[in-house]
């Protein structure tokens, strides 16, 4: 029994570590998609965030500053996406694909240029990383100590999900962004600046994706490698569609993916089942869940459509 409880603690812990990067990126994606701009460049934005986080952590020695800078790097890519899609009327899928080449390409390129042709940054001292909360409050190895062996940012991320829900459904900006994604022409006739709302949302999505990437390098592990962000950005997009484009739904979907990832981590330690088969579970579960329970998602009506201001 004790063993089961201990394992359960470890499983919750693994979930709490795997979820925040996905959730940050997914919340950002919610903003972008609901305002009517498809952003499949999340993966690239996360990678550049992961790299910036690691470099700033190594140079400043302060995890929080590094974390924030990573958000800014993501936001910069958000600006590129926004300018291309909103002002230059680019096809949003194409621009997002470009970001997915530029982000990882630039990250590894700069890494090699800065660190003697190595595609990995050096490992960080734990003091440069984001701090852990509740360290040493509970006896080592106990259930709560296992569960709460989590970096403090993780708690903030879940709090942020709540804030996003509030912004979406309880503020004027939230109402505007949802309306802009459904019927921009109507919004414009009511005096809402469609471009301004969309710019804000897309840049915000870049910022949050950058933070998500940095969570991996500054908390989960302690360096940048080209393989730190493999597919999390796409999983985050999947979570948003799964969660029907709402922050609450996306949070639940991210927790599901996080749980599957946690099972994978723990089951991978025993060698009974092939880790590759276990790794497939989250994706199969998602498909089954969609087929059995969730069904059709309502995509924001103006999503992916080019909107031209009428002066």
């Amino acid at each position: 029994m004790d063993v089961i409880i201990k394992d359960l603690g470890l499983l919750i812990n693994a979930t709490l570590i795997a979820t925040p990067p996905l959730l940050l990126a997914a919340l950002g994606s919610c903003f972008s998609e609901r305002s009517g701009v498809v952003n499949i460049g999340i993966e690239g934005m996360m990678t550049i965030g992961a790299f910036t986080g690691a470099v700033m952590g190594l140079t400043t020695g302060n995890g929080w500053i590094a974390f924030f800078c990573a958000g800014l790097a993501g936001a910069l890519f958000g600006v590129i996406h926004a300018v291309a899609c909103i002002s230059f009327h680019a096809d949003q899928t194409i621009a997002g694909t470009a970001i997915n080449f530029l982000g990882p390409g630039l990250a590894v390129f700069l890494c090699k240029a800065m660190y003697n042709n190595s595609s990995d940054t050096p490992a960080m001292d734990p003091s440069c990383k984001l701090p852990k909360l509740f360290q040493g409050v509970f006896p080592a190895g106990s259930f709560w100590s296992n569960v709460l062996n989590v970096y403090s940012v993780a708690y903030l991320v879940f709090l942020l999900a709540l804030v996003c829900w509030f912004v979406f459904y309880k503020t004027k900006f939230g109402a505007h962004l949802r309306a802009v994604g459904e019927h921009p022409e109507a919004c414009e006739s009511l005096g809402i600046d469609v471009y301004k709302v969309r710019y804000t949302c897309v840049i915000l999505s870049g910022f949050l994706a950058g933070l998500g990437g940095a969570f991996v390098t500054l908390a989960t592990i302690n360096q940048f490698r080209p393989s730190v962000i493999v597919g999390q950005g796409f999983i985050a997009i999947a979570a948003v569609i799964f969660g029907k484009f709402s922050p609450g739904g996306a949070t639940k979907a991210c927790l599901l993916f996080g749980l599957c990832s946690g099972i994978k981590t723990l089951a991978g330690q025993s060698n009974t089942v092939s880790p590759n088969l276990i790794s497939m579970i989250p994706y199969i579960v998602t498909i089954l869940a969609l087929v059995l329970f969730v069904g059709k998602a309502h995509t924001p009506a103006a999503n992916g459509k080019i909107f031209v201001k009428s002066k």
């Binding site: 230059f88 096809d91 194409i94 390409g105 080209p226 994706y283």
Partner: protein, 355 residues
């Protein structure tokens, strides 16, 4: 005047400008990194054109990319977005590799069997997603992403199975039997001085021509395009939209699966375990975009990307990060994406001038 207008209207003109701009931005980053762009680009060009055998390697690199490019381009033309070419490529390669190892048949049967099975695997992988879309209304981008990862882990799983895995061969499968390989006869390969020269490029060009004929010259292609253009309008005209989506996705998936077969039976001869997705499907999106979603355009953009990939792999010799290729390609796509507005501006400018 008319001639000038036709230049400004043509996709090729904007694509070439985008490529030039991509190289300029790549040069800026090389300078920032303290590497001479002349040296890096010189090495890049030399690695592509320096010797005849380098050109053959470019063709080898280009073949699978032309297939995934065709796959994505075909899906674009028919109004669905096949972001799942990656997974279809992987199951195609996996199927070709497994059959190439496990079956022992004369080459006349073995090669076509492996190729057809790979195309079928890619088609089925794509059709499952199509059925989920048509029957249950599930967003195809979501299920494609899921199926890409399922294919990735499935491939890694199969590589490690006892019957497929090479003893002491690191993290790769056994070699595909010679009877299943697409290689040119040994004498020809020796004469070309290129050990992996294969039929892939000829298959790719043939596939591009067939797809061009389907899209431009057949009723089927017309129906698929009509559904892609306006599914309600097509429905009104008596076209079964669901069936069209499935047909389009099936063909698109088969093309990506063929790309996987060409890569395994042509160039590599075995399957490796990977830490992350290889990216042929995602590169196919780029090939389709640079080729303006035209099948013939995909031949040229596939060759361009193949050359960049092969040349880029040699950049480490001059201590330049090969990722500069990704930066250039990313910029090229971005500039192609924003070129639309210049077209509109030039058109407006032209009109004013005409007055």
């Amino acid at each position: 005047m008319n001639k000038k207008k036709s230049i400004l209207d043509s996709n090729v003109f904007y694509t070439l400008i985008a490529i030039a701009a991509g190289f300029i931005i790549g040069a800026v980053f090389l300078l920032i990194a303290g590497i001479s762009p002349a040296v890096a680009y010189g090495k890049l060009l030399n690695s592509i054109f320096g010797k005849p055998k380098y050109l053959f390697w470019t063709l080898i690199y280009a073949s699978p990319l032309i297939f995934t490019g065709l796959s994505v381009a075909f899906s674009f033309r028919t109004g669905v977005f096949n972001i799942g070419a990656e997974g279809q490529f992987v199951v195609g390669g996996l199927t070709a590799c497994s059959l190439g190892i496990l079956l022992d048949l004369p080459a006349v049967i073995h090669v076509p069997l492996c190729i057809i099975a790979a195309a079928a695997a890619g088609m089925i992988w794509s059709l499952i997603v199509g059925l989920l879309k048509v029957k249950r209304g599930i967003h195809e981008v979501l299920s494609f992403i899921m199926f890409n990862w399922i294919a990735f882990y499935l491939s890694n799983y199969v590589v490690n199975l006892a019957v497929i895995h090479k003893e002491g061969g690191g993290e790769a499968s056994k070699d595909v039997l010679d009877s299943a390989r697409l290689l040119f006869p040994e004498g020809v390969r020796k004469a070309l001085d290129c050990s992996a020269a294969n039929w892939g490029i000829i298959m790719a060009v043939a596939a591009a021509i067939i797809i061009w004929i389907i899209i431009e010259k057949t009723t089927l292609g017309y129906k698929l395009k009509a559904v892609g253009f306006n599914s309600n309008g097509a429905l009104y005209a008596g076209i079964n939209a669901d069936r069209s989506v499935l047909t389009a996705l099936g063909i698109s998936g088969a093309l990506a699966g063929l790309g996987g077969a060409v890569q395994i039976l042509g160039m590599s001869g075995r399957l490796s375990q990977f830490a992350g997705q290889e990216g042929f499907g995602f590169e196919g999106i780029t090939v389709a975009l640079i080729g303006s979603s035209s099948p013939i355009g995909c031949i040229f953009s596939g060759l361009f990307y193949g050359a960049m990939k092969y040349g880029g792999s040699k950049l480490s010799i001059v201590k330049a990060p090969s990722e500069v290729v990704d930066i250039i390609m990313g910029c090229v796509i971005l500039f192609i994406a924003i070129s639309q507005i210049f077209r509109v501006l030039f058109a407006r400018f032209g009109k004013k001038e005409g007055k």
